[in-house]
Structures are given as C-alpha cells and as structure tokens.
C-alpha cells in the first residue's frame, strides 16, 4: 500500500486547489523558507484524522483554514483528500484505490468522506486499524524530535516505545 495523491484546497497557505502526486519510492519537496512545504506535511496529518491543533502548529483547529493575506480574503473552508493504492489488499475494502477526505468550515462543522461517501471519523479510524496508518502511527520525523528523544524529559523515550508495542 502507498499514497498516490494528495489534494488541498483552502488548507493553510494553499488557497487554490493543489494536487500533489507521490511516487511509491522517494518524493522530494523543495523550495524557499516559508513557502508551504511543512504545510503539506500538516495536511497529511490532518486528513488522517489528527485532532490535536498543537501537532499542526496551531492554537485552534480553525487556524488550518486559509486566513487571508493583504490581497486575498480569508476562506470559509479547508478541504484535503488523500488517495491510497490498495495493491496489497491491506485495507479491508474491495476497491483497489481508496480516497479519504476531510473538510472543516469556519462554523466549526467538519465532514469526513471515504470514496466520496459521507462517513464518520470513526469509520476512517476503523479502515486503518492495524495498518499503522492512523494519525499517530504513521511517521513524521523532524529536527525538533532529535532534541526531544535525546534529552528524554518525563521519560518520553519510553512512551514512544510503548506506543509502538
């Protein structure tokens, strides 16, 4: 199983509809400081069901919606879709491709969809149960974690081992 495409609209600095296709091997993302690379990583965590704003560098979940610039008005909704290729049949579903979508409106309402059919967050979590794909089991490694795992304040290192068990 691997991810083949990510689509963002109104998510953080991606005001316009943007499609990113991924290779099953290595895909690299480059660009100057502050242009939106780590926002793509946040979009991946979010569409997989992340509920903690602090892991998305935000104080409130509504901060993930495009909040405007000097020239452009803020938007009312953020939407991210992620498509998987289910080539090894790991996902308990008969399709060979699965797309999950998450939407958030300024009002606070949120929507989840699997292959364009509305569902609950619980359904998405169940789909990925034991595949290692739930929002905290997939893996993002960033420089900040280097200091944290080596300093080991509050026995964090052991927590990481327990989470993997």
């Amino acid at each position: 199983m691997y991810i083949s495409e990510l689509q963002l609209q109104g998510f953080k600095s991606f005001a316009h509809k943007t499609k990113v296709s991924f290779d099953s091997g290595i895909t690299s993302i480059v660009g100057p400081n502050g242009c939106g690379k780590s926002n793509i990583v946040d979009a991946l965590r979010w569409v997989l069901g992340e509920q903690r704003p602090s892991l998305l560098r935000s104080s409130a979940m509504s901060n993930v919606i495009f909040n405007g610039t000097a020239q452009k008005k803020a938007l009312g909704m953020a939407e991210v879709s992620l498509t998987f290729v289910n080539d090894k049949g790991i996902l308990p579903i008969e399709y060979s491709e699965v797309t999950i979508t998450r939407r958030l409106y300024r009002s606070g309402d949120s929507e989840y969809l699997i292959n364009n059919t509305s569902c609950r967050l619980k359904d998405i979590m169940e789909l990925f149960m034991d595949t290692g794909m739930g929002s905290d089991a997939y893996s993002v490694i960033e420089l900040k974690m280097v200091e944290e795992i080596l300093n080991d304040k509050n026995n964090d290192r052991r927590r990481l081992f327990e989470e993997a068990a």
Partner: protein
Amino acid sequence: ATERFNKTFEQIRTNFQKVFKTLFFEDDYCDLIIEKDVEDPLEARIEIKAQPRGKRPSGISQLSGGEKTLTAIALLFAIYLVKPSPFCVLDEVDAPLDDANIERFAKMIKEFSHDTQFIIITHNKKTMSKAEMMYGVTMPETGVSRLVGVKMGDIEDAA
C-alpha cells in the same frame, strides 16, 4: 503487556543497531539498555549508548550536533520500522549534517525505499537528487502557495 513491550523493545534494539551501523561505520558500538533495579519496572528508563567512529564519549550529551542527529534518526527510524506504516515523512532532518553524512543518509533512504514510501523535505541538493519525483513549492503571490513540478535537471537552482 510487559511481554509485548519486551518483544517490541528487542525488535527496536536490533533495528537501531542495523541503521546506526549504516549511518556510521560497520564496527561502531551502539546499544539500547533498559534501566535495571528500579522501583517501578513499568517506568524504567531506556538508555541510548552510542560511540561513533571509535570515540569514547562518556554519554550521548557529549556527542556533536551532527552525531546526535544521526543517532536520533537511527532510533526514530528503528521505531518506525516496527510499525507497518506504509509511508515516512522526513522534514529537513539533514540540515545539521555535513556532505559526507548527507551522502550516507541519502544512501540509507534509497536502500529502504524498496519497502517504504518516503516523502523528503530538504534544502540540500544531494538529498533531493535521490528522489524519483520532485516538487518545488513557491509563493509567487504573498502568502499563497503554489506547486511546480521540477525536472531532475533543474536541481541546480532549486535549493
């Protein structure tokens, strides 16, 4: 539960030693040790031992910035390999590394990319050139991101 923890710990320990020796040298010593003789075994700390390139630091705090980064990447990656997750994102972890270590890091990623999908965010030309697919993110309009496909030939000015 302790049974499962110990089994996972042993798996992570083996992975850690394997990845550590790919990032440093084949005969460098490293290990993960669970603290013995503690009141509450469920809270026993996990200690990292790392002696890159034949040195004898008295603890990981004496390692250099680059050595700490490689040791932490080896451990985080060892934990990642225990879970079956299909993709792994690396966000500018190669920033503190010198050219020789970047080469070793990029080689390790290439080796593991047969079973694992990688998404790598980097400013370094050596790391970006190992990818099969590459995207540039720009901000032509203040505050609004745009994506551009980059051909491998354009790497020179993409940094």
